[in-house]
Symmetry: C2
Subunit: 413 residues, 2 copies
């Protein structure tokens, strides 16, 4: 009898995470060894609560299901933020998971997520071996933050970068209209890594020099240097735009928006308001018109403006994960290996999970200029291929058409 | 000898104001009586500073110039926020304007803008008659706020409404992922009128009931009723989304975000932060997960997601303004007269400028539900046709291609 597979999603949404889900489904449908495909609702919690959805029937019969799934925002199977305890500390949890999956004849379990999800896959694969379970565990990366190690970049990053660069260009057009000195500060997601904020530089072109200043968490932020930077740019142009990561810190490592910082259970800092802090600094010090804009969660969920390249790779990573388990592989994450920038070429490979949960990939210092207020051409060469191509959003009555959120009957309403 | 025309833009940007400019240019090119087309840079200031740009040559020779202009965000000719004094108080300003325009053989002047721009056109047309000038003055409406009287709706509103409704749907997908009670507050533009915030309701569909609550400036806001509303919705759904206008006020007329309010020179209140205020109220009173999102200036400048219907009408309003001056009309604004909702039919007409500068059109009370926390089906029937249809954004290297901002050499850099 053929085994089934199970797939789940975890962590924060991206515009590409459903493309990886479509990839896993496509991979399993095309596989010779797997039969049914179960989705676990709300990540690993779905396994613990036995909350599942059968996906293969729908994928086989519903026209354009996989194409529409790939283009729909957020997470079709819902998410969770469960931190798995150590298998030695709470073996009963692992026993329960393996028991449930074995009862359902699951041969392989796929987790699409970021650092924390890869931590879960690491623990599950180690525990499976220790506890004598034959279930295979595979990770498929995703995070708009682009901070996973062992992969050139992460799915979801390219689409978020495209949204950020396009928005910065549209904001530039908006800021140019008045003949008055004006400073615009745009706050972009990124607690610890400046990858997203760096994408703002792609908005520059033959007529638009903004954003002139870019501040990333990788370089200690100095308020006085910032004021001097803005003052200097105002000498060159009436219109100064600043792109700043939410997570910039001062020389002592204290968040610029520190007053609002609280730690969640993974020890991550939840921040907001750095744009407002910088706005007030400029108002006070330079007495010019200044406003701040926070690019909000549309950075990760604006599915009407995704990178075709990003969605393609996201799907391939899901498909490859299934393929690798066909050969009995377990305890790995699929990853992207870049072969060249121009023309852009890459390979989907498997990467070790070692340290992936605990290490974050920062922007290399040499991709930031010496003054620490801009990125270099190397950075732009790295991002450019990742935002390439557009996807065909379906529209009806003036609104985008996405796949209805299926788990609502259970969880939401 | 044929006369020339001059055109200018004023006030805040919309995604459709360049479509009206394209319409004026197209109208003048097709006219039998006008020769050259001058753009005044930075609104009426360009006339006072003699800062012009010749547009007809480029429009006649550059391929796709008008199509690309219509699809480019913000304001091609730049803007200003000049409040014209009364002609009797400062006749020398009017003398200077008429002198400059007559010297350039301008037969008609077109101003694309909102309330304040129509005030300028009113004063100029009255002064022209009083001072014996034969120059014709015409207004072409625009404002995302949709608060001009004498027109069914305003150009720019449909595209902003489409952006808001689409963003609300994408935000809904994002908020549905966790299996936890969560309140999301989305702050939408609108100081005095709730037209923009009302568009959030269009995001509702067969699977998405959010936003469940909508608060407009037209109804006095009560903090205690708000808390009760949210509490009630949390009983029905884990996921509550609130759409709120930036300008909501309490029973005494005091802005909910009053601490940050300052008046500009037109007496408009500059607001921000109502989302944050409501977020804090819910955190304090209900102890649930809550976050606030401010839909920022992308509401008015995200040209990659505009309403085809809005851009079509915007262009027609510009074209019609030219046509009316061909018959010697002056001191008017072109306007949209709705004939029917379904199918949507309308006519472009001319409207009087009487009171247009001083009166704002609010959402009628009967289009808001009795409880004051939602809009009615009448409102949705009104907005739906205005967001219809998509425009074909041009993309290159992963980014939208817009017409370069031309006045930068003079003003910006």
């Amino acid at each position: 009898m053929k085994k089934h597979i199970m797939v789940a999603q975890s962590g924060g949404p991206t515009a590409a995470i459903n493309a990886s889900l479509a990839g896993v489904i496509r991979g399993a449908l095309g596989s010779g060894i797997y039969d049914k495909i179960y989705g676990s609702i709300h990540g690993i919690s779905g396994v613990l609560n036995e909350n599942f959805m059968e996906l293969s029937e729908r994928a086989r019969t519903e026209e354009h299901f996989l194409e529409r799934l790939a283009l729909s925002p957020a997470m079709f199977l819902g998410s969770c933020r469960v931190k798995m305890s150590d298998p030695l500390e709470e073996p009963e949890i692992y026993d329960q998971i393996f028991h449930t999956l074995e009862k359902m004849h699951i041969g392989a379990f796929f987790y699409i997520g970021g650092n924390d999800s890869m931590d879960t896959i690491t623990k599950l694969s180690i525990a499976a071996k220790a506890f004598g379970s034959h279930i295979l565990f595979a990770g498929v990366p995703k995070t708009i933050d682009n901070d996973l190690i062992h992969t050139d970049h992460t799915p979801g990053y390219g689409s978020a970068a495209k949204y950020i660069a396009s928005s910065m260009l549209e904001i530039a057009h908006d800021t140019y209209i008045y003949d008055l000195p004006c400073v615009t500060i745009v706050e972009i997601m990124g607690r610890d890594a400046g990858w997203l904020t760096s994408a703002a530089a792609l908005a520059r072109n033959e007529y638009n020099k903004t954003p002139q200043l870019i501040y990333l968490p990788e370089v200690p932020f100095s308020r006085s240097r910032f004021v001097a930077d803005v003052k200097n740019e105002l000498k060159k142009s009436k219109n100064v735009v600043v792109a700043v990561s939410e997570g910039i810190r001062d020389e002592k490592g204290i968040y610029i928006s520190a007053k609002e910082a609280v730690a969640d259970k993974f020890g991550h800092m939840q921040l907001s308001g750095v744009g407002k802090v910088l706005e007030n600094i400029i108002k006070r010090e330079l007495h010019v018109k200044v406003r701040s804009i926070e690019l909000n969660i549309l950075q990760r969920c604006a599915a009407h403006i995704t990178s075709a390249q990003d969605l393609k790779e996201s799907e391939e990573l899901g498909e490859m994960a299934v393929k690798l388990t066909e050969n009995g592989k377990t305890g790995f994450m699929t990853s992207i290996h870049r072969i060249s920038d121009t023309p852009y070429r890459y390979e989907i490979r498997q990467a070790s999970l070692t340290e992936i949960a605990n290490k974050e990939r920062s922007v290399p210092r040499e991709w930031i200029n010496e003054a620490g207020n801009d990125v270099t051409e190397d950075m732009l060469r790295y991002i450019r291929p990742l935002i390439a191509g557009e996807t065909a959003t379906e529209w009806k009555d003036g609104l985008p058409v996405y796949l209805p959120v299926p788990h609502l009957n259970h969880a939401g309403e």
